[in-house]
């Protein structure tokens, strides 16, 4: 190798690297940095022995401390379970109607139900449970399949028109228009008749409309339009509408009804989760 090249200005040896006449001084590393660096290397050796580190053919070294993030997670979950202090077990064994009566249990179930709701229900019913067109608002006092705690529980557990559940809620409103059961004029008349029940704009009660309603609708929706929870026939004499409260929407729904589907959650989430959800939904303000 060549002789030492010492920079004349600083008196420091250079590395011999040179770019366009600019030479690199070979100053020593700061000692604190160097020792930190050596320390890191020593630490890393111990670390890779103690913890999972080196990739092998099928897995990695496990480390002598036996640490694994999965075990950590399980420990955390177990700790969270333990912190619940048997509340979840109490929810499992207590009938849902009794949970609501027990203040502490109800608070626990409501909190659990709220987080379950955010995961499983909010996609359709909205984060504030306000629903949207075709998806019922769960805050109000209109319940298609009933608003008692047991009815809410049954609806969540078995769903509505769920293809996977034998006990699911089911009904099928005839398509009066597309099936040719009523003429367009009759549909308009009966729509206006229905609108008049709740004082909707454009509503008009006529003898013909009244007759049409009695013949075709009252069987399920009741004579005064109050609906029938047993068959899931919504009430027509109030201000809450599933498919927009307009005359056009009413005509549309009579001619070709839309039928919403809700999954049956009982088999998927388990009974305890459904109970918590029922308590939460029932407590949103409209529970009966």
């Amino acid at each position: 190798m060549s002789d030492k090249d010492v920079d004349q200005v600083t008196g420091v040896e250079t590395t011999g690297h040179e770019w366009d006449g600019i030479k690199e001084l070979n100053n020593p590393l700061p000692r604190w940095w160097l020792w930190t660096f050596y320390g890191s290397i020593i630490f890393s050796i111990g670390y890779t022995i103690a913890f999972p580190a080196w990739p092998m053919i099928s897995s990695a070294t496990t480390g002598v401390l036996g640490y694994s993030s999965r075990a950590d997670l399980h420990a955390d979950v177990a700790a969270a379970r333990a912190a619940q202090g048997g509340m979840l077990e109490a929810v499992t064994t207590t009938p849902v109607a009794d949970i609501v009566k027990d203040d502490g249990l109800a608070r626990f179930a409501r909190a659990g139900g709220e987080s379950l709701y955010k995961v499983y229900c909010s996609q359709c019913h909205g984060t504030g449970a306000t629903g949207s067109v075709g998806y019922p608002n769960l805050n109000d006092d209109e319940w298609i399949w009933g608003g008692t705690i047991d009815q809410v529980y049954a609806t969540i557990a078995h769903g509505a028109r769920s293809p996977t559940d034998q006990d699911t809620h089911f009904n099928d409103m005839p398509a009066f228009g597309t099936d040719g059961m009523l003429t367009a004029e009759d549909i308009d008349r009966v729509a206006k008749q229905v609108a008049s029940l709740s004082g909707m704009e454009g509503g008009e009660a006529t003898p013909e409309g009244e007759q049409l309603f009695a013949d075709n609708c009252a069987g399920c929706h009741a004579e005064d339009g109050a609906g029938m929870v047993d068959v899931g026939a919504p009430s027509l004499n109030d201000k809450v509408w599933l498919y927009e409260g307009t005359l056009a929407a009413l005509r549309e729904q009579i001619a070709l009804p839309r039928h919403g589907v809700m999954p049956a959650w009982g088999a998927r989430l388990g009974d305890a989760a459904v109970k918590q959800l029922a308590v939460y939904v029932h407590g949103l303000g409209g529970g009966q």
Binding site: A106, R110, A129, N139, D141, E142, K239
Partner: protein, 527 residues
């Protein structure tokens, strides 16, 4: 010499060389930290030393005794007079109980402490550093221990320089052991502020206290021992930001420990001989008594300096010497810079050298009356008055706020999603998260009602019937009661738009009513 790139190093007529040296040229680089010189402060005696003992006694007494004071708050709250209850998020201070959301009291105290610091520093200089700072108090205590075990300055210097004999080993062991015990007691006392002191003491002794208690004791033992015993003046000089901040607070009217060179210079160790020879002689006999007592190891005669914590021990030392020499005390004294400058101007006249004859009566040798002596009036000037007024104003505001504070509080949060719910009969319902805070250690019966929302009814979640009147709650002592409140307004009384109203909580028995304004939201299409 061969170069790889001749063009760069060969001087051509176009290039110019400069006569310049790098500021950090290798030849004159200084280490970042000056090597520490050992200091062996000599014991001082005098009024400031007495005052410092008194301050130490008072501050240490407050520190050690406070957690053991009891204050009866009834059956539902701890009876410790001063307690920071982190687990339950409460701070108890005698008759005051502060909840986390009332942190503004602490903020107010911090503001007062800040302005108090301005006030004290601009009047009496670094009095905090010299007398009250824990570092100063503990170092003083540690030095007292050192003196007790190893003797005063000369004995300690001898011991330090001497060989490691059995005697030295014993003394050093005793000293460090005592320091460690003080450290443990310091850390031990600290934890009692955070839990019931008698219970915790029993737990600590029987090894049943939580780990954090032992960790805290260990940490504070380590810091007390290291800072008070080993680092001492290094903490003040290098670690503490306070001296820099306090230095910025000083002005020419602030009291600082001052060597009055207008009467001290020219200093002489042979004053009588010099006087006989007709040379000018000042009062300073250059005995260095001021230097040996200094816990910072500095010479105050070099002028005001960063290291000086104004503990005034050099004043004691010098006064002692002056008295023995039959001279007036105060060669080193608390003085303001402006007074000092006046006296300097008097002593130097038009020249730059101090002339002792200009400040002394030629017959008696006493100092002339024209000398400006610093007294308490010297420190009163607009700046200190402004600080004082500000400090008192904030103090009064806090006392007033405390006096007007009610032990019942109310928080209301209107639901954001949904803002409102339309019901079957056309009425509208709003939801609120209401929190009723009972901030006193006693049971309380309160009524909740609405004010300013006609036609409204209220109900609770799953809580049975609606009412147009009020709901009654029993509040647990010192607890928060969360209430999920539903407010419904029927279609006939529905407001046209968003409607402000009051949620009112009242405790009839105690005569306390708190109300919070919220709004009732209605669907936009009804506008």
């Amino acid at each position: 010499m061969t170069t790889r790139n001749p063009g760069m190093t060969t001087h051509t007529p176009d290039t110019q060389t400069y006569d310049v040296e790098a500021v950090n040229a290798a030849g004159r680089r200084q280490p970042l930290y000056a090597p520490r010189k050992k200091i062996f402060p000599k014991r001082a005696s005098g009024r400031f030393r007495k005052f410092k003992w008194l301050v130490m006694l008072i501050t240490l007494t407050i520190y050690y005794v406070t957690p053991w004071l009891r204050w009866d708050r009834g059956p539902f709250a701890p009876d410790q007079a001063v307690l920071v209850d982190l687990a339950n998020r409460r701070f108890y201070f005698f008759f005051i109980e502060i909840w986390p959301q009332e942190f503004y009291y602490v903020a107010g105290m911090l503001v007062m402490a800040g302005i108090g610091l301005f006030l004290v520093t601009s009047t009496v200089g670094r009095a905090w550093c010299g007398y009250a700072c824990p570092q100063t108090v503990w170092v003083d205590l540690f030095l007292a221990v050192e003196r007790f075990i190893e003797g005063d300055r000369n004995a300690r210097i001898k011991l330090d320089a001497g060989k490691w004999t059995a005697d030295k080993l014993m003394k050093r062991t005793a000293k460090h052991a005592t320091w460690l015990v003080i450290g443990i007691l310091t850390g031990g006392a600290w934890i009692f502020y955070f839990a019931d002191a008698p219970t915790l003491l029993a737990d600590v002794v029987t090894l049943q206290a939580p780990l954090v208690a032992y960790a805290t004791i260990a940490l504070l033992t380590a810091t007390t021992y290291t800072f008070g015993g080993l680092l001492r003046e290094q903490v003040c000089t290098y670690m503490c930001p306070w001296p820099r901040i306090q230095g910025a607070m000083l002005d020419e009217h602030s009291l600082t420990v001052t060597y009055n060179d207008w009467r001290g210079e020219p200093r002489s160790r042979h004053a009588k001989r010099a006087a006989a020879e007709g040379k000018p002689v000042g009062d300073c006999v250059d005995c260095n008594a001021c230097v040996v007592v200094c816990p910072m190891g500095i010479d105050i005669r070099d002028g005001q300096q960063l290291e000086c914590i104004t503990c005034a021990l050099c004043i004691d030392a010098c006064d002692d010497v002056m008295t023995r020499l039959g001279k007036e005390q105060g060669l080193i004294s608390y003085a303001t810079l402006s007074d000092y400058n006046r006296n300097m101007a008097l002593a130097t006249g038009s020249g730059k050298v101090v002339q002792p004859s200009r400040v002394r009566n030629p017959v008696t040798g006493k100092l002339v009356d024209a000398i400006k002596r610093t007294n308490w009036r010297s420190v009163i000037h607009p700046r200190t008055i402004v600080y004082l007024v500000g400090w008192i104003a904030i103090g009064l505001a806090m006392v007033t706020a405390l006096a007007l504070r009610t032990p019942l509080s109310l928080n209301v949060l209107h639901d954001r999603n949904p803002l409102y719910v339309e019901l079957r009969d056309g009425s509208v319902r709003n939801g609120y998260d209401v929190k009723v805070l009972n901030m006193a250690p006693e049971m309380r019966e309160v009524e909740l009602r609405l004010d300013g929302l006609p036609g409204s009814t209220i109900s609770l979640v799953d809580g049975g019937s609606e009412t147009a009147g009020s709901l009654t709650f029993t509040l647990e002592p010192d607890k928060v009661l969360p209430v999920r409140l539903y407010v419904r307004v029927g279609p006939e009384s529905l407001p046209a738009s968003q409607m402000p109203f009051q949620i009112v909580v009242s405790d009839e028995a105690a005569g306390i009513t708190r109300s919070v304004e919220s709004t009732f939201e209605v669907p936009e299409k009804r506008k």
